[in-house]
Amino acid sequence: MEKKQTPLGYVSFSVFAWIVGLLIFFPIFWMVLTSFKSELEAVSIPPSFISFDWTLENYAEVQERSNYFKFAMNSVILAVGSTLVGLVFAVTCAWAMAFNPTKRTKDALLWMLSTKMMPPVGVLVPIYLMFRDWGLLDTRFGLIMVLFLMNLPIMVWMLYTYFKEIPTDILEAARMDGATLPKEIIFVLLPMAVPGIASTMLLNVILAWNEAFWTLNLTTSDAAPLTAFIASYSSPEGLFWAKLSAASTLAVAPILVIGWFSQKQLVRGLTFGAVK
């Protein structure tokens, strides 16, 4: 039976979608709004929406008290670094699984994904001890390794789904044409999988950027990214909502902008294979 979209159905669906969208967006909106309020107005009840004295003093103070750019730079290095390292492993792994599958390939994929279900805190102690003994605490290198390993299952999974869509014939043609394995991957597979790789990288950058558990636990200052920057506003002097909001806004702004501009790519990437 064909499903007809009635006007009423369409309207109610749109309304519903908007409500869900607004619900999800509201906390971010509120955070941004609060960042422009004074500390007093930030906690006033009832809360004020637009009619307050807009101020930039929170931002000024945040910038004065801590070096935003140092944290931001760490965030960029960690996010991009872990993504690039991850890509090297994920591409080769997904290549093997997509084009040379065995009976156990599906199981291996599921198992990889299942590691994401384990609470990270379960391995905190061993990893912390390893970091301590190997002198990796508060180093960018150590954190890149942890973030890359943490996101590897998702990267492999996404790339695998993409690679599955590429006809094996084309890779075999490259092999007949004399391409060695690295050349086959670099000149033939990767260019064909550009959209998939782009969305995989994007998602990974976002996940790494937002990762707080490991970044907070394994860094103190040198390698601390923006998550640590926000965290530093949440505890020491009680709760300063406005300043915390300003810091958070600064921290999420870059990723929000990237996400906004690339949302088409992202949605396509995440639903690839499911819709088609």
Binding site: A173, M176, D177, A179
Partner: protein
């Protein structure tokens, strides 16, 4: 130069014995066609020669050297895939040039070879296009161009024409035959279309269930098939197989007679029959008949014959065109 020799080549996928053991000799410059029903292992055998699958056992000799464990690129063969398998992100020029680039040829050499291949294949105007902007026939020619420029020891084709429409197929068939005459390079061509096999091949290899049933020139296979399978597979419409009295008369288990080797008469003949369906093609007429005591048969009459359903006719097999088979389906010598 490309003489290829298979010695006891075996291939199993897990427990599935796809190629139980094939011996085959392909001479330099020969056009060899592998035919057989779907799933008989034609593609697998071709891919074994190409190196895209590893042999389970046996030797593959190209010009005398065993390459069974070499990478595809080391074997110096080119392959044209059924799906064309062009690189979608590259222009036609780069598609054709890719193999040369991988071989580390200089820019000038590449330019020259690509241009000359494009000329042979009428692709000169399309060199800057992407494969997605080409028709099926053009894509096929790019795939062939990609194969030619590498100057291979042999070309391997896996059902290259099956994605084309009938008219284009005939054209490309002639083009490939022409190409073979021009280049004189060994070609191995897989198809399940026996018309392609008959028209193109110097030598046909008939496969069934991974076994070579018969190897020979097209007309040899047509005139003296080694067994019932080959007899039924080569030739269209299929050969008729008759047992009973007629077989006894020729002192064998079963006789085979091709539809074109049966004389049709409305007055007298060896086998009385009733027409079920008459297919009038103009130049010839196919009669699907029910022969008394022998069951359904197909016969071919030349030209237009005024026969239709329920008409009574008489069939007489041409005596020297009768094939005799024993109980195992093996051909016996002429009686």
């Amino acid at each position: 130069m490309g003489a290829i020799r298979l010695e006891k080549v075996k291939k199993t996928f897990g427990t599935l014995d796809v190629i139980p053991g094939v011996d085959l000799d392909i001479n330099d410059g020969e056009f060899v066609v592998f035919v057989g029903p779907s799933g008989c292992g034609k593609s697998t055998l071709l891919r074994l020669i190409a190196g895209l699958e590893d042999v389970t056992d046996g030797k593959i000799l190209i010009n005398g050297t065993d390459v069974a464990n070499e990478a595809p690129a080391k074997r110096g063969l080119s392959m044209v895939f059924q799906s064309y398998a062009l690189y979608p992100h590259m222009t036609v020029y780069n598609n054709i040039a890719f193999g040369l680039k991988m071989a580390g040829e200089s820019k000038e050499v590449i330019e020259e070879k690509v241009q000359s291949a494009a000329k042979i294949l009428n692709l000169t105007d399309y060199l800057e296009r992407r494969p997605s902007a080409l028709s099926g026939g053009q894509r096929q020619r790019v795939a062939i161009g990609r194969a030619i420029v590498r100057n291979p020891a042999a070309f391997l084709f896996d059902e290259p024409l099956s994605n084309l429409d009938a008219a284009l197929r005939v054209n490309m068939r002639l083009e490939i035959t022409g190409l073979h005459q021009e280049l004189k390079t060994t070609m191995i061509y897989v198809t399940h279309d026996q018309v392609e096999a008959m028209t193109m091949a110097d030598k046909i290899v008939v496969l069934q269930a991974g076994r070579v049933e018969q190897v020979g020139k097209p007309m040899d296979l047509y005139n003296s098939p080694a067994n019932k399978f080959v007899a039924g597979f080569i030739g269209s419409p299929k050969m008729n197989f008759l047992g009973g009295e007629l077989a006894q008369k020729h002192s064998c288990h079963e006789i085979g007679i091709r539809p074109e080797h049966v004389a049709v008469s409305t007055e007298s003949g060896e086998i009385p029959a009733t027409v079920k369906i008459a297919e009038h093609l103009g130049a010839e007429t196919y009669l699907h008949v029910e022969a008394d005591g022998y069951g359904p048969m197909t016969v071919r009459a030349t030209g237009e014959v005024p026969l239709g359903e329920h008409d009574k006719i008489f069939l007489t097999p041409e005596q020297d065109r009768i094939h005799r088979f024993d109980a195992h389906g093996l051909a016996l010598g002429n009686s």
